[in-house]
Symmetry: C2
Subunit: 280 residues, 2 copies
């Protein structure tokens, strides 16, 4: 099943992507009916219209209550960070989860706006994303596996100079549009057997085994839920293996086999936005 | 106006606290109708029941879309951190916002559960919280002031050994129940003229001028919105001046004059929860 959140003619709804069409389903588009979707998706679709996929805009498929993100979770990415002077013992020794901001989420097809003032490395991190469908605390590994409703794709856009200059990631990783997620949630895939492919303007830039993680999603869920209750709709971004540089005008495709392709275009922020407004 | 989110006989609703009663208002309790509340709260209350305040349970008054938190925002708190060896130039030189987890929120009257495995300093940080009622980007200071719908109280519960041992705050500050918030949103107060008073088991532990911040809420909003769009329902916790130690059995009251008092009791996590569940 491919679950998408869509807008069409100003109306927002959830839908099941079936070939080149979207079958609308009932309910509040901000509250995915995970249990009903697992039990009887046809009942949710009864009497509702189908739309051409090309006619709808795809939003982030879920708005997470809590937005979790793993960091330093691929060996090659960590070696690079150690070369930049990070303390190696703090990197990847335990599955410690971090957070990202809901305000930064945009969907498939949306623009990534490179803010005024971003200098130096401005990069894609291509990540597989677990979407939780259950409430869970003190999970066993088996419960952790069962708690994942499906999978989507995230681009953990990062402005490196801000990342190094700031105490927090508020603008380096959480500026508006810095968290593209989509195009949909795929429930029928084992992403640990997938391949992640990043293309820049149609040319291959990076490719890695999605499952080549230091700690897999279930390791994280077991560790997190020692302290934290996860809830349906929460998301866990799993980290990236390497970076792809981005310039204004670039089209970035992140494909994870078995899930789909998340595509976004980099645009520049209007030149006067900052200077005018912040001078006042 | 005092806006609360309540449960009563298994039903959740928003209400206006008026003396010792709560006047129920209409609408989805997870989507505060900020504009209507500002324009005509009586219309939202028409025909709906009143409840004794003592008969309802108070939930966190809002579930934020994005949960912002200022750190290192009072001079005394920062001196203490510098004594502990933090780099002083990284502390409080700019209004850099961080994030907390929605999963950790509980309301007034709820228990703070001290997890198994927390050793050493386990502390209250008493914070005033801005609740946004507007969508805003590139705010002027005047727009920032207008964007705040009202104010509530937060307890940024912190387990210091985890804070120092971990790369992220996932368990040090975001374990379940570590973010009490409430009791309600007060719209008619200037908290920069308030006094924050922390009591432990009814005895005064700390008192400070709520407005004695390095950067005030509007400084933060102007800086944040250079990069980030704030949305109605988002919250910004403003940091604390000092800490109050907490032990199992303690009752912690945080009073901010003109807003109210947030009360929570510290309980211990059941001894077998961890060992049993994580062994399997």
């Amino acid at each position: 099943m491919l679950l998408a959140r869509c807008t069409h003619e100003g109306r927002e709804f959830l839908g099941l992507v079936e070939g080149e069409e979207v079958q609308e389903i009932s309910g509040d588009p901000l509250r995915v009916p995970f249990a009903q979707l697992t039990a009887d998706p046809a009942a949710l679709a009864a009497g509702l219209p189908r739309h051409p996929l090309a006619a709808v805009e795809l939003l982030p498929p879920v708005v997470p209550g809590t937005f979790y993100a793993a960091g330093f979770n691929y060996k090659a990415h960590n070696r690079h960070h150690e070369e930049l002077g990070y303390d190696p013992v703090k990197v990847g020794d335990r599955p410690e989860v971090g957070y990202r901001a809901q305000s930064a989420l945009v969907g498939h097809g949306a623009d990534i706006v490179k803010p005024q003032g971003v200098e130096g490395r401005f990069e894609t991190e291509a990540e597989v994303v677990a979407v939780f469908g259950a409430t869970l605390r003190h999970a066993t590994r088996e419960q952790a596996i069962d708690s994942v409703f499906g999978w989507t794709i995230g681009n953990d856009v990062s402005a490196r100079e801000w990342q190094h200059a700031d105490r927090t990631f508020y603008r380096a990783k959480n500026a508006d549009t810095f968290k593209p997620m989509g195009p949909w949630i795929q429930t029928d895939v084992d992403p640990l057997a997938s391949t992640t492919t990043v293309s820049r303007n149609g040319r291959l830039d990076a490719q890695f085994a999605t499952g080549d993680m230091i700690f897999d999603p279930y390791d994280f869920i077991v560790e997190m839920t020692k302290y934290i209750t996860i809830h349906p709709g929460d998301v866990l971004w799993m980290g990236a293996d390497g970076n792809t540089p981005m310039a204004v005008g670039d089209v970035i495709d992140i494909e994870i086999s078995g899930i789909g392709t998340l595509t976004n275009t980099v645009v520049g922020e209007a030149a006067d936005t900052h200077t005018e407004r912040t001078r006042s």
